[in-house]
Symmetry: C2
Subunit: 170 residues, 2 copies
DNA sequence: CCCAAACAGGACCGATTCAGTCCTCTATTT
DNA sequence: AAATAGAGGACTGAATCGGTCCTGTTTGGG
């Protein structure tokens, strides 16, 4: 699967919603956000607390309090949202600096360095998409190029970059 | 985390090992592979059965049997190994065609299309790295470019593609 | 000054998923 | 025929995760 957690998924939805109506710095309460997104209120609360702790949203307590985005939507990469909920992005255990050394096969598996590079590619893909990008769908919905599999020819150079940078803002 | 399963991780290690000594089509038994990689024998067996069912390795039963890679290492993307163990790569539930429609928020979340594109980027990153790439570490270990986070400037165009295609085979 | 609104922080449990093992069957070689 | 080796699937213990709840603390309004 290589899937992000549900909480992180919800977090992106919530943050994108905030990004879409980031007007005059208005705050939105957990109750309101739960109502408009359909996500259960306690879960919304938990997620926003995480985002606030990581400086992605700005919170205010008390009556008339609530949350709003702490930065401009263009400046908040999706990767930051995911990391706020799940910690550093690491496709394998040995791919991140934090958990490197925890693998018992380290040193003799021979693929650690390769994983670190794959991880960098994935991380940058997520880093290259902002909340502003998430909020405006439908720009150049170009048909995705079919990809060769086992036994096929050498594969597309730059394919990842094409989608991440060109397609998106094309 | 955004992490692949341990089984998929082991699978890549095993397949890479096979790729590294793909000579004269020799076969390797589960016992031997377990011995050289340090992974427990039953686990190695389970993984190779999955890889065989997906046509990634070629198996032969009986005395003098064993496994070998079914294609040239350059033609086997890491993505194929992961998919053999975990199913289609899908960063979120709504990102893959198979499980699309299972999300109760579908239609009103507004980020489904964006996720599908992110998923395509990640999938291609994994598709662009072959077992041959995994087997030869150390080619152009260029320092990774630091990436701007929340509040930073607009980010690197083509970064993902640079790493996936250029750095790796550069 | 007090009450209500709203977030902060963390404990907690139930369910799901995953890793790992085992058993039986089939195929191949000697 | 016997030994070797994979095929296929069932099963279980553990770890993780999603979701809820409870108790503070802060803020604004009457």
């Amino acid at each position: 699967m290589l899937r992000i957690s549900k909480l992180a998924d919800y977090a992106v939805v919530l943050a994108t919603w905030l990004a879409a109506r980031e007007q005059r710095g208005e705050r939105h309460t957990v109750r309101d956000l739960a109502a408009v997104t359909g996500i259960h209120q306690p879960t919304v609360g938990k997620i926003l607390k995480h985002l606030a702790r990581h400086g992605i949203v700005d919170s205010q307590r008390g009556a008339r309090g609530g949350y709003r985005l702490a930065a401009r939507p263009e400046d908040v990469p999706v990767a930051a949202i995911i990391e706020a909920l799940e910690g550093p992005i690491a496709v394998t255990e040995c791919a991140s600096e934090e958990t490197a050394g925890a693998c018992e096969y380290e040193g003799r598996c021979g693929v650690q360095e390769s994983w670190q590079r794959i991880n960098a590619v994935v991380g940058r893909a997520l880093e290259s998409v902002s909340l502003a990008d998430m909020a405006k769908p439908g720009l150049s919905p170009r048909e995705l190029v079919p990809v060769a599999r086992v036994g096929g020819e050498r594969r597309m150079a730059r394919a990842a970059g094409d989608v991440a940078a060109d397609d998106w803002h094309g």
